[in-house]
């Protein structure tokens, strides 16, 4: 059926084109105006340190790439978890990764003296600084991986069914939240509380080039892996018995793919903070536009995630410029209207028959 197979390529191209356009917008807008010429010369001739624009473009390019990679990783891993748990409300955050990451970050801020306030303290101009971002990231990552390992081990003992995973995750994340709350109540001072708060809001500007590279490589690996296992994801969606009778061991598949998704999410949120909504919404948008086959919507969910983060970043930096809003907040502003519009129009406009 040739007619059936064409039709999605243009949509993918459109998505990629949108990603490029938004990247350009994100590079251009801001308090310091950059022209297309500046960007072209930066890209073609390489960074020229004698120009002021070089620094600005470098900084913004880092944000753009962080947004694309982080959004891609979150979108894809959200999609993988939703298929695995057969639950549209699931995401890696269902496992409670974000609470563990916050606890790790909190410990980093507390023990290793991570937090501080720089500049005059007023609502718009104070800059909260994470003094030791690398340590905080590593601790957040370590804590979330430890948490994931605990959840999956406990769930494994109880049969690694959907319910056992969700219940164990729920119990453990409440424990982690309680520990963090206790720390904040007893030990943290107000600056440390504020720093942690600021960390959890999420931001794409705190990544270094090394972290950007790590995120980009991780995204490419995750996208390829998802493409490869897409047919098995379709089987998992239909049920454990179906998967089993079509040659896929549902327990092994669930354990491996859930830990991979958790790893990708932990990596992302330890670098950019808790940007949960992208995880939840990208898969839905991708499925509504590209249909339910995991080959198409799995790949698309990453692109949609990147697009959402980029759009959110543009909004973050322009709405009340020069103040930058946390991206964890603006992703919701971008994602919710798109999702609602698609749900309302979804029955007709986005199916192809």
């Amino acid at each position: 059926m040739p007619r059936y197979r064409v039709g999605y390529l243009p949509l993918f191209l459109l998505l990629t084109a949108l990603l490029l356009v938004l990247s350009l917008v994100d590079l251009i807008v801001g308090p310091y105006t950059i022209s297309m010429g500046d960007i072209l010369s930066y890209l073609l001739r390489g960074p020229d340190v004698s120009k002021a624009t070089t620094v600005v473009i470098g900084m913004r390019l880092r944000r753009v790439l962080t947004a694309i990679a982080a959004g891609g990783l979150l979108g894809t891993s959200g999609y993988v978890v939703q298929a695995n748990l057969r639950n549209p409300l699931a995401s890696p955050f269902t496992l409670g990764i974000q609470h563990a990451a916050a606890l790790g970050a909190g410990v980093g801020i507390l023990v290793l003296g991570g937090g501080g306030v720089v500049g005059p303290r007023s609502a718009t101009s104070a800059t909260i600084l994470i003094a030791n971002p690398f340590t905080v990231s590593i601790l957040a990552f370590g804590a979330s991986m430890l948490h994931t390992a605990l959840v999956l081990t406990l769930a494994y003992v109880t049969g690694l069914t959907i319910y056992s995973i969700i219940l164990v995750a729920l119990a453990l994340s409440f424990t982690v939240q309680a520990v963090l709350a206790l720390l904040q109540y007893l030990v943290f001072n107000e600056i440390q509380v504020a720093t942690l708060m600021f960390w959890t809001f999420g931001s794409v500007e705190r990544t270094s080039w090394l972290e950007v590279e790590v995120l980009l490589v991780a995204y490419v690996v995750m996208a390829v892996a998802t493409w490869v296992v897409a047919p098995d994801l379709d089987l998992m969606l239909l049920g454990d018995d179906i998967a089993s009778s079509s040659g896929v061991n549902p327990r092994v598949f669930r354990a491996v793919s859930m830990s991979t998704a958790a790893l990708a999410t932990a990596l992302t949120i330890s670098f950019v903070g808790v940007v949960g909504f992208v995880c939840l919404v990208s898969g839905h948008i991708a499925r509504l536009v590209f249909g339910w086959s995991a080959r198409r919507s799995g790949l698309a969910s990453g692109l949609v995630g990147g697009l959402t983060m980029l759009a959110a970043d543009v909004i973050s930096r322009t709405v009340i410029s020069p103040v930058t809003l946390p991206i964890g907040i603006t992703t919701t502003i971008v994602g919710v209207p798109v999702l609602i519009a698609l749900v309302l129009g979804g029955g007709r406009g986005y199916t192809r028959d």
Binding site: M1, Y4, R86, V228, P231, D232, D234, L235, L237, L238, G239, D241, I242, S244, S245, S246, G247, V248, N249, R287, G291, W292, S293, T351, R352, D353
Partner: protein, 250 residues
């Protein structure tokens, strides 16, 4: 030629015994009905044959090889499974049937895989609905779609768990006729769990009666389905109208 041999199979769900020393063999090309009350072990038996659950004791041989010597994927190529229920998703019918070809390809479906999907859809008369979503199909179409999905992997043995449940009369007949037609035209062996004794009598070459996890009776439908067996297994008095191949509950 024996295609399926079950020998001394036992299975437990926790402390509940689901199958107890079940043994029988099935010849290639036969249509076999497994009947028995709810909880008698019909579904479990099918799952054991498909390797979805492993028996506590005993062995299953498919095409002369013990299940333990098959990888999950190589077994999936030989045995097709039509479950009682599955999680319906808005996948297109085409993609759904294509998922049945999964054991045959590594990365992407080949032209041959797509050919088999079209063939399977044709054999259940659903080719014109290939672009529909599963959620848009009627009950009868959906049941035939699940059968097409199992057929797409070109199995030698087709296991069907209550293929006529939840269908109206017309679709029940339609689905059973499809199964019979396919076994005759492709030499597939079909093992189906059924609730309707008249259907079992009309559409099968062999009937296995399960009762509390054990084989209570086994043989040709006319011999096995009689008043005594029905009363013993179901606790219901019925009369068998042999010329009509129908069972009437008294």
């Amino acid at each position: 030629m024996v295609i399926l041999e079950i020998s001394g199979v036992c299975f437990r769900y926790g402390s509940v015994e689901a199958l107890n020393d079940v043994s029988f063999s099935i010849d290639a090309g036969e249509v076999v009905s497994v009947i028995g009350p709810n909880g008698s072990g019909k579904t479990t038996l099918l799952k054991v044959i498909d390797g979805i659950v492993k028996p506590v004791r005993g062995a299953v041989y498919v095409d002369g090889r013990s299940l333990g010597r098959y990888s999950r994927r190589s077994l999936a190529k030989i045995v097709g499974y039509v479950p009682q229920r599955l999680n319906i998703q808005p996948l297109t019918l085409y993609d759904f049937v294509l998922s049945g070809r999964r054991p045959h390809y590594v990365l992407t479906p080949t032209a041959r895989d797509r050919e088999k999907v079209v063939e399977a859809l044709k054999s259940v008369d659903l080719l014109d609905k290939a672009d529909r979503k599963l959620t848009e199909l009627s009950g009868g179409e959906l049941q035939r779609a699940v059968i097409a999905r199992a057929l797409a992997s070109e199995p030698k043995v087709l296991l069907l768990d209550e293929p006529t449940a939840n269908l109206d009369l017309r679709y029940q007949v339609e689905v059973l006729e499809t199964i019979r037609k396919l076994t005759k035209s492709r030499g597939i062996t079909a093992v189906m769990a059924l609730h309707d004794l008249s259907q079992a009598m009309r559409y099968s070459d062999k009937v296995i009666v399960l009762h509390r996890g054990k084989v209570y009776a086994l043989g040709a439908p006319e011999e096995v389905i009689n008043e005594k067996v029905i009363e013993a297994v179901y606790g219901v008095r019925a009369t068998v109208l042999r010329d009509l191949k129908a069972i009437v509950v008294l």
